[in-house]
């Protein structure tokens, strides 16, 4: 990667950029919703508890008040004394809160009623029942409490948190209390007398001149416990989600970039000239698949072009090639090259053939000349010599010896002449010359040589060049067979076919390795001769023997 940021980075970055804030926002919203709903629920509950208790307390006080019969119970109290604790605003008759240092800081109420005679009766009440009502803690959890506050902002009921201390010791001027004394009923979050934040519901309580604020409160800490748990869970979920998203985005990025990188690898190999690979990737995505299909096709076509060029390189000009498309310049060039090579090759083959032909015919001419020289020059001299010897007056024994030597010499000349160029080849054709050759060789070897000739219109005479070629090949085959094959039988078949002549040699000898045989000039010579005349030469050899099959077209 030379320039730019990788796709992988972008994918991971964008996916995370998209998802993480979304999840964060959703979580935050969810959290807020939850908090609001908790607030509402808690306050609602507190309100109802507070309301219930207020009613209970008011009922209780009213009941006590009604039950209070000034004539039958209670002490008489003077107006003076009474005015000590009765507030100036309210009347003397009624319920008075006389909690104070005298009561030891515990709740103390005084019921004051005027009897028919105008005397005030007073009865004290310690508010056990009220305590009971307040301590009833159903639905209040661990930190919930309901309590009463007097007009002097001192607690009237015992603090749940400090049961051993008297309520009068605590002063409470919380938002709830202040609001309550302003005759407001309400709820809210504020700090209580301990200075701890609480959810609270408050109301002003008024019974027969008694003025209190009743409050039901619960610590926010406790109330918000579920929220904390939720928060914790949310954070965990958030972290896990982000992790999962990160991993997924990595995976996605990988899935996207892997095929690209793989393709880069293939392209690199291709640009390095290596097309010898199979593309078997199964990438995700339709477009990727399309791309890979195109790549495979490209490679396949390249391969075909390459294999074609390879064939051309190996001079296999029979190879064919189908153009990949209209713009397949390479293919076109290769085809043109093939055509050029084919032409050159043809010309070269032709030239070679002509050359070989020229060599062969030159050789044969020379042999013919030599043969004639021997036959016409040396032959007559020898016969003449013999005649002269015959006509000389010599001792019979010496004369006969001389004649024998001359006869042997003549025979040798005949043999040489025949081998160089049998006159019969020109006069009678190749079939008869081969027949004669076989007859000449038979006495010299133990091998059974069988010559079979299937004649045709040409009667074994196919023109000098073909005759000579067939005769030379036969000579070579028979010489090799007799010398090397260790065969028992040699079969030689000459068949005149429609437009060609076939020479078939077969022996049952030990065979030889056609490719490594040394001194193979004989073989290559046979091949060259066949080639010069546009024929085919096939040899096969193995342990069971050797066969040679030569076919030559008739001479034109």
């Amino acid at each position: 990667m030379k320039n730019g940021v990788s796709i992988k980075f972008w994918v991971v970055f964008l996916v995370n950029l998209l998802f993480v804030p979304t999840i964060l926002l959703v979580s935050l919203f969810f959290y807020q919703q939850f908090k609001t709903s908790i607030d509402e629920r808690v306050l609602l509950q507190l309100t109802s508890i507070k309301g219930l208790k207020r009613v209970q307390i008011e009922d209780f006080l009213e009941r006590e008040w009604q039950n209070f019969e000034p004539n039958q119970e209670g002490q008489l109290i003077s107006e003076e004394e009474l005015s000590n604790f009765a507030k100036e605003s309210s009347g003397l008759e009624g319920i008075h809160d006389v909690t104070g240092l005298e009561s030891g800081g515990f709740l103390r109420l005084a019921f004051v009623k005027k009897d028919s005679e105008g005397s005030y009766h007073i009865r004290y009440e310690d508010g056990e029942e009220i305590k009971k009502i307040l301590l009833e803690r159903t639905g209040m959890g661990k930190s919930g409490e309901s309590y009463l506050v007097g007009e002097d902002f001192k607690l009237r009921s015992r603090s749940r948190f400090f049961p051993e201390r008297s309520p009068y010791e605590f002063e409470c001027q919380s938002e709830g209390v202040l609001n309550a004394f302003e005759q407001k009923e309400g709820k809210g979050i504020y700090e209580d007398y301990r200075g701890i934040e609480v959810y609270g519901a408050y109301q002003f309580l008024n019974a027969r001149g008694l003025k209190w604020a009743i409050l039901s409160e619960i610590d926010t800490e406790e109330a918000l416990e579920p929220l904390l748990a939720l928060k914790k869970n949310l954070i965990i979920i958030l972290v896990i989600s982000i992790l999962i998203i990160f991993v997924l985005s990595l995976f996605l990025a990988g899935a996207l970039t892997r095929p690209l990188l793989r393709m880069k690898y293939y392209l690199d190999r291709m640009s390095g000239g290596d097309y010898d690979f199979e593309i078997n990737a199964k990438p995700v995505g339709y477009e990727m698949n399309l791309m890979y299909d195109s790549l495979s096709e490209m490679v396949a076509k390249f391969k075909s072009t390459i294999s074609f060029s390879k064939e051309i390189g190996e001079m296999n000009l029979a190879a064919d090639y189908k153009l990949i498309g209209e713009n397949d310049t390479l293919g076109k060039s290769l085809l043109a090259m093939k055509e050029q090579l084919r032409k050159i090759n043809e010309t070269e083959t032709q030239r070679q053939r002509e050359l070989r032909s020229a060599i062969v015919s030159g050789q044969e001419k020379e042999r013919l000349r030599l043969s004639k020289e021997l036959h016409d020059g040396l032959g007559p001299m020898l016969t003449h010599l013999k005649l002269m010897v015959q006509s000389q007056e010599l001792p019979t024994k010496g004369k006969d010896a001389l004649k024998n030597v001359i006869d042997d010499t003549v025979n040798e000349v005949r043999r040489m002449t025949f081998n160089l160029m049998p006159q019969s080849l020109m006069d009678f054709g190749v079939a008869k010359s081969v027949q004669n050759l076989v007859l000449m060789l038979k006495p010299l070897t133990d091998i059974q040589i069988e010559f079979i000739y299937h004649s045709g219109e040409k009667r074994g005479n196919f023109g000098d060049d073909v005759n000579i070629c067939l005769f030379r090949i036969t000579q070579e085959c028979l010489n090799n067979g007799i010398k090397h094959s260790v065969a028992e039988n040699i079969v030689l078949v000459l068949t005149e076919e429609e437009n060609q002549v076939n020479l078939y040699y077969s022996d049952d000898g030990k065979g030889f390795d056609v490719n490594t045989v040394s001194g193979g000039s004989g073989l290559s010579n046979m091949r060259a001769r066949t080639d010069a005349l546009g024929g085919t030469f096939v040899i096969s050899s193995a342990e069971e023997g050797t066969t040679i099959d030569v076919t030559l077209p008739f001479q034109k």
Binding site: T383, H384, D427, S433, I452, E544
Partner: protein
């Protein structure tokens, strides 16, 4: 007196021969001729002779042609071929063209005289060597009956029975290649293209 002519393009040889015959009773060399043409010209001028010694390979008109002309124009003249060729084909062809004798050029005086005398008397003359060559080549000429070797016949019979090359090889304890070679040999020998034709031809020739 036997009048003879010598036709040979090698003057040294013919003159030597003539010189040799000059010492022989009953034989008179009428003339020596350098080639067939000269001899034919001599005959056309009503030249007379009894026996002619003919070389085969000569310029212009060769010995074998001269024989044909003689047979048509002067059948009374007896011809002996005197050649360097110890090739049976020439002997067969000479006999076909009407020669009564065939001698190799290195024949000695006695044999030549013997041959001339025999031919003059209307007999044929061939010595042991030329007879053998003649017979060998005659045999070839007449050899139309194809022969199969015992092993080939054996294989052919198995082919006819419908066995495959492999089965035949297993049966005869030889390699499939050998069987193939024999089969191809037979195809070639009988000049046929395939096994079916081979069986048919072999049956026709009563080889199996």
């Amino acid at each position: 007196m036997i009048k003879i002519g010598i036709v040979d393009d090698h003057q040294l040889f013919s003159s030597g021969l003539a010189a040799m015959f000059s010492n022989v009773e009953n034989i008179e060399v009428v003339g020596t001729f350098d080639d067939g043409e000269a001899f034919i010209e001599f005959l056309e001028k009503d030249g007379e002779l009894n026996v002619v010694l003919l070389d085969i390979t000569m310029p212009k008109i060769g010995g074998l042609e001269v024989l044909e002309i003689l047979r048509k124009t002067r059948p009374s003249i007896k011809a002996i071929m005197l050649s360097m060729h110890n090739d049976g084909n020439y002997i067969v062809q000479s006999v076909r063209n009407g020669a009564l004798g065939y001698l190799l050029k290195n024949a000695d005086q006695e044999e030549l005289t013997k041959a001339i005398t025999a031919v003059y008397e209307g007999k044929k003359y061939f010595n042991a060597e030329t007879t053998e060559l003649l017979l060998n080549n005659m045999a070839v000429e007449g050899e139309v009956v194809k022969k199969l070797s015992p092993r080939e016949r054996e294989i052919l019979e198995l082919i006819a029975e419908g066995l495959t090359t492999k089965e035949i090889a297993e049966k005869l304890f030889i390699s499939t290649r050998t069987v193939e070679t024999h089969r191809v040999n037979m195809l070639k020998k009988l000049n046929v293209k395939n096994s079916a034709e081979l069986i048919k031809k072999a049956a026709e020739l009563k080889l199996i």
